[in-house]
């Protein structure tokens, strides 16, 4: 009888331990941490790409020369997503753009807010509320001199339990007046995923 009681206790204890192992945890992580947690495109990949692109662009000798006397106006085009994942490519260009802006070497035009701009200018011109002398006139914005374009592709290979995912991000800066590509670079990320043999 005592033996059975002991057994029962042991079972309950093991059960309790197992259950407590399931409790969820939450903690802050480092935004730049390069620890891959899946073969998918993730936040650290985004950081890596943005960093690599910006570093490459602002240290490229002709760019250094160009930006030493002026701050060129750049327009950013949408990234062409050719991968097998639904990626918010806008957030990649946003990261690249804000890093470039903070470098102090470039200026940007933002086409995404054009509709609101027109609306605002119209109200300044027509509502009669704004002093005509300092109301912003149409047709005074600066045109972009350069266009920043990007392509994002993925090659996936599988052999046995290993999946090899290769991402390539290519970015180019085109001079809109001359049509010449002033700069281009690519960043590659490769992730190897191996399927475990044992697990839950």
């Amino acid at each position: 009888m005592i033996k059975e009681m002991k057994l029962l206790f042991a079972v309950v204890a093991v059960g309790a331990l197992t259950l407590s192992g399931c409790a969820s945890t939450i903690q802050y992580g480092d935004a730049g941490s390069a620890k891959p947690i899946s073969k998918d495109f993730g936040s650290s990949d985004l950081q890596q790409i943005a960093e690599a692109m910006v570093d490459s662009m602002i240290t490229f000798p002709p760019m250094v020369e160009l930006t030493s006397t002026q701050r060129p106006v750049v327009s950013v085009d949408k990234v062409k997503n050719k991968t097998m994942q639904h990626i918010d490519t806008e957030s990649i260009t946003d990261s690249v753009r804000s890093r470039l802006l903070r470098s102090g070497k470039f200026r940007f035009v933002d086409r995404t807010t054009d509709a609101q701009t027109v609306e605002e200018l119209k109200s300044q011109q027509e509502s009669g509320l704004v002093d005509k002398k300092n109301a912003v006139q149409f047709g005074q914005q600066l045109g972009a001199e350069f266009l920043l374009t990007a392509n994002f592709s993925e090659i996936r290979q599988q052999a046995g339990n290993t999946t090899d995912v290769y991402y390539k991000f290519t970015m180019s800066l085109k001079n809109l007046k001359t049509g010449i590509l002033e700069w281009s670079d690519e960043k590659e990320i490769r992730k190897v995923f191996t399927r475990g043999t044992f697990g839950g």
């Binding site: 997503n81 991968t83 097998m84 994942q85 475990g196 043999t197 044992f198 697990g199 839950g200």
Partner: protein, 476 residues
């Protein structure tokens, strides 16, 4: 006394295991799957609405959630509720991914395997056949297309194409594994089982394999064209042509792009294979024309039926095993005709026989199913023998009854899929059209408003379920 207790204890454990299995096993372990989907199918063919916020909701969270979410997703897509369709398909995709990345030997996998050995194949969580996984991405691409999210649609067709490649590899591996296991457990092929499957050869013979379909490649090519990637489009149109060379519209598109991309060698060969000069002349792009693409899907894929076959086992006696088979009269594919002001614009051409894909998929899996089935028969016979030894005749009877009751064929498959898919592509002068859709299986004519813009592409999706026609137009 202690011996009796011991036996009771052992039987108790067995009983408990069986009860647990039946409790946690998914919804179709003891009731046939097609009955579960019947309401969806009859709702689609009668237009009597079903509330998806209630229907099959608990099933869509069960072990078979991949399958139920595909059904719900397809139902929502046909009835025009894109958001529910997208989230349903997403749930299925995520689970499939999770399964594919799960460790090879997992606790849950062992549990399901054991349950399948003692109960039936329905206890194995549904994983989705190759052709279903491909069509899952295909239909998700159409959802993105409807939302005019071309980038999203592009992602989905790339996934569908990758799935067609993966399915091929997975299939080869599965067959090897089944053969290995059959050898290890000394399972010989059973002529009665083989003859059941031989009956399906006629329809299965229409396709080379179950996971590659021309429809998905064609839609993929079309999406690449919308994305201004004619090179990628050409490759997928060519794949579609390889699988379904009879389709006039695919022939025309391959020829058109081969000419546009200056693929001279290809063009020569294509002209030899498809000597239809007139095709090229009327495909020239005029400033005042636009294109219409009609994706027509009709009917429903066939449902699996159960066949019970008694097989002799080495310990003496017979044990019955249940098999899924397709037993259906195969009807011909009837084209949809499209008129403008009583003038025929064209009729659709078949591009994919989804029935054949389903039947072929079952045929491909037959060796795997047969092996598992025979292993189960042996295990159940062994359980009956052990029960006789420990509990006498009554015990054996109980286990035999269990064996009989629990032996159900796995009838699960994606049932709201159409029986076949057809396409039509035409160049029309710019303008507003009221197109008349006519099909011999429907009463009367359905009218659809379509706008053709300069250089634009309008996609008209038409689904026929019984006498009902569902249609939607997206303009690019």
């Amino acid at each position: 006394m202690s011996k009796l207790l011991n036996i009771l204890y052992r039987q108790g454990v067995t009983l408990a295991v069986l009860l647990t299995i039946s409790g946690c096993a998914s919804t179709s372990t003891f009731s046939a799957y097609p009955n579960k989907i019947k309401p969806l199918i009859s709702s689609l063919s009668s237009r009597v609405p079903i509330d998806l916020s209630e229907h099959l909701l608990s099933e869509s969270k069960s072990n078979d959630l991949i399958l139920y979410n595909m059904e719900r997703g397809r139902f929502a897509q046909v009835t025009g509720i894109s958001d529910i369709s997208m989230s349903g398909f997403n749930t299925s995709m995520e689970k499939i991914r999770e399964n594919d990345e799960k460790a090879l030997i997992s606790a849950s996998g062992i549990g399901a395997g054991f349950a399948a050995t003692m109960v039936n194949d329905n206890a194995i969580p549904y994983e989705g056949d190759g052709y279903e996984r491909v069509l899952l991405h295909h239909y998700q691409a159409l959802n993105y297309l409807k939302k005019k999210d071309l980038e999203g649609a592009g992602v989905e067709v790339r996934r569908a194409n990758a799935e067609q490649m993966d399915a091929m590899k997975r299939f080869e591996k599965d067959i090897d594994k089944a053969q290995e296991e059959a050898e290890k457990k000394k399972v010989r092929s059973n002529s009665r089982i083989d003859s059941q499957y031989a009956q399906m050869d006629e329809i299965a013979g229409r396709v080379k394999n179950s996971f590659q379909n021309a429809y998905t490649f064609y839609v993929s090519g079309f999406i690449y064209e919308l994305l201004q990637q004619p090179n990628d489009a050409y490759i997928d149109y060519k794949k579609a042509l390889e699988i379904y060379p009879e389709n006039r519209y695919v022939q025309k598109d391959v020829l058109r792009l081969a000419a546009k991309l200056e693929m001279r060698e290809d063009l020569e060969e294509l002209n030899r294979r498809f000597p239809i000069k007139s095709l090229l002349t009327d495909s020239k792009t005029d400033v005042n024309t636009g294109e219409i693409l009609v994706l027509f899907e009709e009917g429903f894929v066939p449902q699996k039926r159960e066949v019970k076959i008694p097989i002799p086992i080495s310990r003496g006696g017979l044990i019955s095993i249940a098999f899924p088979v397709y037993k259906e009269k195969w009807s011909v594919q009837v084209p949809l005709q499209i008129f403008n002001n009583n003038e025929l614009i064209g009729s659709t051409d078949p591009i994919c026989d989804i029935r054949a894909l389903a039947v072929k998929a079952l045929k491909e899996k037959a060796p795997v199913i047969a092996t598992r089935q025979i292993v189960r028969a042996i295990a159940k016979a062994a359980a009956a023998a052990a029960a006789k030894q420990n509990l006498g005749e009554l015990g054996q009877l109980a286990v035999s009854v269990w064996n009989l009751v629990s032996e159900n064929a796995d009838l699960r498959s994606w049932l709201t899929l159409p029986a076949n898919a057809q396409i039509l592509r035409a160049t029309l002068p710019v303008g507003d059209y009221k197109l008349a859709l006519q099909h011999p299986m429907t009463l009367g004519t359905t009218y659809v408003d379509v706008k053709i813009t300069t250089g634009g592409k309008s996609v008209l999706q038409v689904v026929r379920t019984g006498q009902q026609i569902y249609s939607s137009v997206t303009q690019f």
